[in-house]
C-alpha cells in the first residue's frame, strides 16, 4: 500500500517538474540558457542533459549530507557542492563532446550560477531523503531539458530550416530567429503560449512568476 503511494508521488514529482513547475516557462528561474544555447536543438539538448545530471547529483549529495551541514553555512556549502558537480560535468564534456563544448563551454561553467539548482537543493533536497530528492532532480532537470528542446526546435526550424543539423525546409530561413533577438522573441512567445494553455484549459493560474 505504502509502496504504491510512494510510486505515485514519485511520478507526481517528475510531472510537477516538467509541467506545473517547469523551471523556465512557469517558475522562470535560470533564463539565461533558455536564450543562450537554444539556437539549435542539439545544443539545447546537450545543455539540458548537463543540467539534468548536475541537478540530480546535487540533490542526491545535498540530501546525503543534510544532517551534517550547519544551517548557518548551508548556502555556501551548497554552492560548493554545485560547483564541484559542475566542474565534473565541464571536464567530462570538454573530453567527450568537443564540438558542442567549443560552442557553449562558457554556459556549461555558468550552470553554477543557475538559481534553479540552488533553489531545489534548498527547498527540497535539504529536507528530504535520498530517493525523493533523486526524483525531484529528475523532474526539474527533465522540465528544463524539455523547455530547451522545445525552444531550440522552433528556433532551428525557423532560423536555419533544419533540425539537429539535418535540413528539413528548403526555403530561405528567417535569419532573425537564430540571432539573440529571435531567442528573446521565441522564449516570450512560448511562455505566453504556455500561459494561454494554462488559462484556457486548466482555468487561471497561468501567469508565470515574477522572475528572479
Amino acid at each position: 500500500m505504502s509502496n504504491a503511494e510512494n510510486k505515485i508521488s514519485y511520478i507526481g514529482l517528475v510531472k510537477n517538474g516538467i509541467f506545473s513547475e517547469n523551471p523556465i516557462f512557469k517558475v522562470a528561474l535560470s533564463l539565461c540558457p533558455a536564450v543562450a544555447v537554444t539556437s539549435g536543438v542539439k545544443n539545447g539538448f546537450m545543455m539540458g542533459i548537463a543540467v539534468l545530471f548536475v541537478q540530480i547529483m546535487v540533490n542526491i549529495t545535498v540530501s546525503i549530507v543534510r544532517k551534517f551541514i550547519h544551517p548557518k553555512v548551508r548556502i555556501p556549502s551548497y554552492m560548493f557542492i554545485i560547483a564541484t558537480w559542475v566542474t565534473v560535468t565541464d571536464l567530462s564534456m570538454a573530453a567527450f563532446a568537443r564540438d558542442v563544448y567549443a560552442q557553449m563551454g562558457l554556459y556549461i561553467k555558468l550552470i553554477v550560477a543557475f538559481a534553479i539548482i540552488l533553489t531545489r537543493a534548498e527547498l527540497f533536497a535539504s529536507k528530504q531523503k535520498v530517493t525523493p530528492s533523486f526524483f525531484d532532480g529528475l523532474g526539474v532537470g527533465a522540465g528544463f531539458l524539455f523547455a530547451l528542446v522545445i525552444i531550440g526546435f522552433f528556433r532551428e526550424l525557423l532560423g536555419k530550416g533544419s533540425l539537429w543539423g539535418y535540413p528539413i525546409i528548403n526555403t530561405k530561413p528567417l535569419l532573425i530567429m537564430i540571432l539573440p533577438t529571435g531567442g528573446f522573441f521565441a522564449v516570450g512567445i512560448l511562455m505566453g503560449l504556455f500561459n494561454w494553455i494554462g488559462i484556457k484549459f486548466f482555468g487561471g493560474g497561468g501567469a508565470s512568476g515574477g522572475g528572479h
Binding site: 522562470a28 528561474l29 535560470s30 533564463l31 539565461c32 533558455a34 536564450v35 543562450a36 548556502i75 555556501p76 554552492m79 560548493f80 560547483a83 564541484t84 559542475v86 566542474t87 565541464d90 571536464l91 562558457l106 561553467k109 555558468l110 553554477v112 550560477a113 543557475f114 538559481a115 540552488l118 540571432l179 539573440p180 533577438t181 529571435g182 531567442g183 528573446f184 522573441f185 522564449v187 516570450g188 512567445i189 511562455m191 505566453g192 503560449l193 500561459n195 494561454w196 488559462i199 497561468g206 501567469a207 508565470s208 512568476g209 515574477g210 522572475g211 528572479h212
Partner: protein
Amino acid sequence: MEKLFELFIAAALINNFVFTRYLGLCIFFGVTKKMDTSIGMSITFTSVMVISAALNWIIYKFIMIPLGLGFLEIVIFIGVVAGFVQAADTIMKKVSPGLYFKLGIYLALITTNCIILAVPLLNVSEGYSFIESIFFSFGAGVGFSLAMIIMASIREKLELADVPKAFQGLPISFIVTGLIALAFMGFSGLITL
C-alpha cells in the same frame, strides 16, 4: 590606452552581456519592475563586479597558476564571489547602515547572477592583464546597468498598457528585450577588435 577604451566599449555596448551574451537574465527580469530598484542594483552590481574581478584575477595569477589548480576555476571563483559578497554585506551593515538599508538587499541577489561569474572566467580565457580585466569588468557592469535602466523605464510604461492576459508579466518583457536587442545589434560594427 586605446585598447582599454575599446575593451570597455566592447563589453558595455557591442557585446552587451544582457543583449548579446544573454547573461544575467534572472536578475535583469527580477529587478527591472521599478526604476529605483534597478538603479540600486546597478550601483551595487558594478562595484561588486569590478572588485570581485580584480580579486579573482589576483587569486588566479598568484595562487592557482603556481599550484596548477587551473581546473578548479569554477569552484574557486564562485567561492571568492560568495565570500566577498558576504563580507561586503557584514562590513556595510557595521560601517554605513544607511547605505546598507538602501543597497543591502541587492547584495544577496548578486551571487546568483551569471555575469559575476562569467566575467572572471572570460578574463582568464581571454588572457587579459590586470588593468585590462578591470576595464572589461567595469564595462560589463556599465553595460548591465544600462540594460537595466532602459528596461525599467520601458516596463514602468508597460504597466499601463493593455497586454493580453497570457502575455502579462514575463512573456511581454521577453519580447521587449528582443526589440532592445535588435537595436543593440546596430552597435556591432562600431569597433573591430
